[in-house]
């Protein structure tokens, strides 16, 4: 046991030392290649082998996930089926709660991987040096805007911010077409949304701040508050409430509509702001990053490979109704392709830098 601890310590020490050496930003093998410990059987340090995926991997793989467990469990189960000798340990929580844990644990890293619900968090953490670069072979197939320039994180799936509605409560001619319709007094008290602690909502506000500016975003949020929008902690509450007819409209990620529809509720969906001069559809990506100081780098990298593989992407598309980033993976039946919509274009790196201002705005308005 003490030998194990000693080797772990040595390993961490080497990693820390290598972290300090200036590494060229693009080639991931440079910072990790130095960590070659001789004769260590307990700790998988043979990082030279990580470039080849077929190398047998084992040990514990610790995943911190900002995505809720039901949305990430299927892909973990599929990975376990492929690599039964890897023990996957999952810690799921709210996006920023996990992010805070990662910041606190910098000196004593526990997690190997971080999976997140939106890019601003992962970008912000990346700027704080929480991650180590890794570029899976499949990365070349993904749209380049969803890969960190330094390979610190890799996008996995896309989600759209949509309005879902209860078909019993809203007549077709009354349907809103823009998120700005949500401030119309005729919807007073009839709208549900996720509150200020929700990553996707935070990301939407950050995106709007960048696209429209502070004033217009504030006016929109104030409009929601004046319209007595009910803010829940998460989107599952929103979709269930709309499905049950408690609310006419809900501001959600698109797959919550599909999940509610699959439960047999009478719900419909609107992809908003498609008209001329309108904002366009706001989207955001989920992402994964390998944590700097990870104990099981080979397994972490294998897991990233799996997430961006066709098999992994299919699970996200099939079970979660998400938009896979890997081209050629079919959408789940009923999911409208993103190509048919005009998307709002957001600069992720800039929005991440502005995240404090987003929180300031939510706080100023006392968004629940």
């Amino acid at each position: 046991m003490s030998l194990y601890r000693l080797t772990s310590l040595l390993f961490i020490l080497v990693l820390l030392l290598t972290a300090c050496t200036p590494a060229s930003p693009v080639t991931p093998e440079v910072p990790t290649a130095a960590a070659t410990l001789p004769d260590s059987t307990d700790v998988p340090t043979d990082v030279a082998a990580t470039e080849t995926v077929d190398q047998p991997i084992s040990g514990k793989l610790v995943i911190y996930s900002g995505r809720s467990e039901p949305l990430i469990q299927p892909v973990i189960d599929a990975f376990k089926a492929e690599h039964p000798e890897v023990e996957v340990l999952l810690k799921a929580g709210s996006n920023s709660e996990i992010a805070n844990a990662l910041i606190e644990e910098q000196a004593n890293t526990q997690a190997d991987l971080f999976i997140t619900t939106e890019l601003f968090t992962v970008q912000s953490l990346s700027q704080q040096g929480i991650f180590q670069p890794y570029r899976p072979a499949a990365a070349d197939l993904l749209p380049p805007e969803f890969i960190d320039p330094n390979n610190n994180w890799i996008g996995l799936t896309l989600r759209a911010r949509v309005i879902m509605y209860n078909t019993d409560l809203v007549a077709p001619e009354d349907l809103p077409t823009s998120i700005f319709d949500l401030t119309d007094p005729k919807w007073k008290g009839k709208i549900a949304a996720a509150g200020s602690t929700n990553g996707s909502m935070q990301a939407q506000i950050a995106a709007m701040r960048q696209l429209l500016g502070e004033e217009e975003t504030e006016a929109w949020l104030q409009g929601l508050l004046d319209n007595e929008v009910t803010f829940f902690g998460g989107h599952t509450d929103v979709r269930k409430a709309v499905g049950a007819g408690e609310f006419a409209l809900g501001l959600v990620n698109h797959y919550y509509y599909h999940l509610q529809l699959a439960e047999g509720s009478k719900v419909g969906v609107i992809y908003p702001d498609q008209g001329d001069g309108q904002l366009g559809l706001i989207t955001n990506a989920t992402a994964v990053a390998v944590v700097k100081g990870a104990q099981n780098v080979p397994a972490a990298q294998a897991f990233v490979d799996f997430l961006v593989s066709e098999q992994g992407q299919k699970i996200f598309a099939e079970q979660n109704y998400e938009y896979p980033l890997l081209p050629g993976v079919p959408l789940r039946e009923g999911v409208q392709p993103l190509e048919s919509f005009r998307l709002a274009e957001v600069n992720i790196a800039e929005a991440a830098l502005d995240s404090d201002a987003t929180f300031d705005l939510m706080e100023k308005l006392e968004l629940p």
Partner: protein
Amino acid sequence: MNRSDAPMPPALVSPLQRLRAASNRLTTRSASPVLLAGLAGLVALFLAVPVVYIFLRAVGADAEAWQRLLQVRLWKLLGNTLLLMLAVTGGALVIGASMAWLTERSDLPGRKYFRWMFALPLAIPAYIGGIVHLALLRPRGGMLPRLLENLLGQPVYTPSPLGFWGAAFILILFTFPYVYLLSGAAFRSQHASLEEAARMLGYRPLRTFFSVTLPAMRPGLLAGALLVALDILAEYGTVALLRYETFSSAIFVQLSGRYDRSAAAVLSGVLVGLAVIILWAELHSQGQARFTQMESSWRPAPIVRLGKWRIPALLVAAGVTFTSLLVPVGVLTTWSIQAVLDPETLRSVLHSGSMGFSNFAWNSLWTSFLAALLAITLSVPVALFSVRHPSRVSRLIARVCQVGYAIPGVVIALSLVLLVNRALPFLYATPLIVVIAYVLRHVPQAVRASEAALNQVSATLEEAARVSGRTAVQTFVQVTFPLILPGLLAGGALVFLTSLKELPATLLLRPAGFDTLAVRVWVWANDGFYIQAAPAALLLVLISAVPLSFLLRREQIFK
């Protein structure tokens, strides 16, 4: 309640007081409390760590964070928090003490069963009760409004469980057992001669109750009220669920937001300050009064006949039990059956997270048990020192040991993350750190219980043992310990149960793949999968019921 507005029959008070004063003089002279003081001081030091950290962080926060919060939010949060705290403490005191009186001092039909019914809501975390009541009563979408609408053909107004009233309602329902247990024990152990003396002095029953019975119960009632008040200060799940913003939920919002913790630290600092004020007030209200009993002449106080009030009292008691126990357990059972009958739900219940169902049940058990054991052990020197050697120092130590309970679990967790990460990195991300958080957070309950137990044991018994040649340690082992054991076990039961229910600290500190029942319930319920959460919630209640029954039986209240 102050001593001056609770007049005791003078003939009764002064001998007791003189006795106490004499015994205090004796103890302080005969037994040197240096070792005890050192032990108690160490315990206080250990418990003070998170508080010190929070104050350092709050003081270290930049002026901007303070200013931003001081403008509006702080005052609003202060008002919200205090209002809820007062309402829930008052409600829990009234319900807890009156139910205790009904089961211990009246001939309420079925009071043997009601004792269990009133203690068992302790096994239900308030937020689980909140989830159930929310599912039932939710405006428009709740089961009850829908049922009524279907029956009557039109929407019917039902009270909403959201907001202040809802939060107060739910929290009273699930915190009154604290008061019930502590005041129940006090009613039970009350000396018959106390009331007899009052009656002989010509006091009518009602006056006897308010001027003798109730004041003599003050330690028990205050202990219960303090636990409830501090519980409300730290409560997160219920207020977040029912959308009523207090300090704790605001801190959580801060933590789930920006990566800068200074605002959360500022709020926590104010919250801890609030708790210190409550403890200070409590210290002063306790005054000089001490109530001791002589073991040799103890007789139970007589039972009061309810007469024509039997039926109304029974209805009230049944109503309390219905809303606080039968409804949550009934709904959870129904949901559990639904979960078991649906193969897909059942599969996800049994194989969720990284481990199986039995794994997190076991984790809940052993961490809570270890925490209870440690908490009682740590509480004994503190209680001994503060009760048997009352002084400024001992009182300060006892108060320091209380403050930890008022710090939200999330803040204890954060301070542990930071400190353990730096000082004891090998301890971090082990289940032991979860246990440490439980201990830090729940030792105050154990200290309260141990103090209350010691307060009920006359120091003259220990004096007798010392005079007859026993050492201080022998005296403790042979005389004091057996007498306070029921109280210690009651404290242990409380720590065990609150640890079992603990959520925010467990969520933040648990190593990956280490789940407890409470965590599983939260993860599922948070995702809106109430039916999936139900079996774990029900098991949590059942597991809690077993040691609860064991401990309560040993305490002789529940025979």
